[in-house]
């Protein structure tokens, strides 16, 4: 199952300049692992050495923050959009 992963500007350099890439997986974590095979530098920005998502990185599956789902174990049942965003201020 192929998913689209949308990247913020600062990560595109690790994906040949593309604003989105595709990856396979039945969980968000699997999709990130698949991504790591082709874009190791990108994966290193999305995952800590211990396999968790860095605190400054927000990951949304179909616009829902995976922190409030099942994290990287969140299942993906259909082709989906995963959006990666840095934490930013507002106000």
């Amino acid at each position: 199952m192929m998913h689209t992963i949308r990247l913020p500007t600062i990560l595109r350099v690790h994906a040949g300049g593309d604003s989105s890439v595709t990856a396979r997986g039945s969980t968000v974590g699997e999709a990130f692992s698949d991504l790591g095979k082709r874009y190791p530098a990108l994966a290193s920005q999305l995952l800590e050495p211990d396999g968790s998502v860095p605190v400054f990185v927000n990951v949304f599956l179909n616009d829902e923050d995976i922190r409030y789902l099942e994290g990287l174990d969140t299942p993906i049942s259909q082709p989906s959009e995963i959006t990666v965003l840095p934490s930013v201020a507002g106000g």
Binding site: F56, Y68, A89
Partner: protein, 304 residues
């Protein structure tokens, strides 16, 4: 009326509430400078003054994309204390002109860094010791203002709250109003509407340069939903045409999430907070013309 803040009205969105669910909106533009930040500015500044930290010689400094700066500007003017606001380049002309009207000095931070850049520049300036920075992102008075103000008002105005939806900027509204709502309605969910700012910011050097406001605790949310620019503008226009509410874009983002949540429910009450009205955003072009053009034009502006 230097800092007295009457309760703001809560209205039921008659046309937009799905069958069986009541969606209410708290209209924060009824506050003195037209945004919920009047609560935050008053709380932070009153506290600092009562602690003797604001005296006749004090120079105030604050990073703000607009509303906090404007709310502080009004009190600073009334108190005779000079205020410098650091705001990102690309903030709407109305916000800049409003700050000037109150006699505020404005410094611009690089647009590609968004609000993060304004925080960075202000923190660097504050390090010199020449300024008092009350720092809405780190000041517990921000949360307290929304606990005892916004949140307590909501639980007084409504008999039932199942879900509270609010935009995520400093986190003050979600933390403060969320705590008050949970206190009265322990099973209530607190849901953040995440504006699409991170997509637009191009000036971060790395993901580690991201910014998490010290007052924000992600563990105190139940859910966080990303709202992109197009649905934000669509829902801002929907408020205008369906409910006759001329609201700012952050209201559109909050509405999008409130309706998403409400449509998942069979019955219950969703309350959302509308931070400001549309006046300050007229020049951004989000209210009129083809939607595609509005999205395109707004994509390089600071709407939050």
């Amino acid at each position: 009326m230097s800092t007295s803040l009457a309760p703001t009205p809560i209205v039921r969105l008659e046309a937009l509430s799905p069958r069986g669910v009541d969606v209410y909106a708290k209209l924060e533009w009824f506050l003195p400078t037209g945004s919920l930040k009047d609560r935050v500015a008053a709380a932070m500044m009153e506290k600092a003054r009562s602690e003797g930290r604001i005296t006749p010689g004090t120079k105030l400094l604050e990073p703000s994309s607009g509303n906090t700066g404007i709310a502080m500007a009004r009190l600073a003017m009334l108190w005779g204390v000079p205020l410098t606001v650091v705001m990102p380049e690309g903030s709407s002309a109305e916000r800049i002109e409003t700050l000037k009207t109150f006699g505020t000095r404005i410094l611009f931070s690089p647009q590609p860094e968004g609000a993060n850049g304004a925080v960075r520049v202000a923190e660097e300036m504050a390090a010199s010791g020449d300024y008092l920075m009350l720092h809405q992102y780190a000041n517990p008075a921000n949360v307290e203002a929304h606990y005892s103000g916004t949140g307590r008002e909501i639980v007084t105005q409504l008999d039932r709250v199942d879900v509270l939806v609010a935009g995520l900027g400093t986190g003050g509204t979600l933390m403060g109003a969320g705590a008050a709502v949970r206190e009265s309605f322990p099973r209530a969910q607190v849901v953040a509407a995440e504006p699409p700012v991170g997509e637009l910011i191009t000036g971060l050097r790395s993901m580690e340069a991201g910014y998490i406001p010290p007052i924000f605790d992600a563990g105190r949310l139940d859910r966080r939903v990303l709202v992109r620019l197009r649905p934000t503008i669509e829902h801002t226009r929907l408020l205008l045409t369906a409910e006759g509410l001329f609201a700012g874009p952050s209201c559109g983002a909050a509405l999008a999430v409130a309706l998403r949540v409400a449509r998942e429910m069979r019955s219950g009450t969703v309350v959302t907070i509308f931070p400001d009205a549309g006046w300050k955003y007229l020049s951004t072009g989000i209210y009129t013309g083809p939607l595609d053009q509005s999205v395109e034009k707004a994509s390089d502006q600071i709407l939050w």
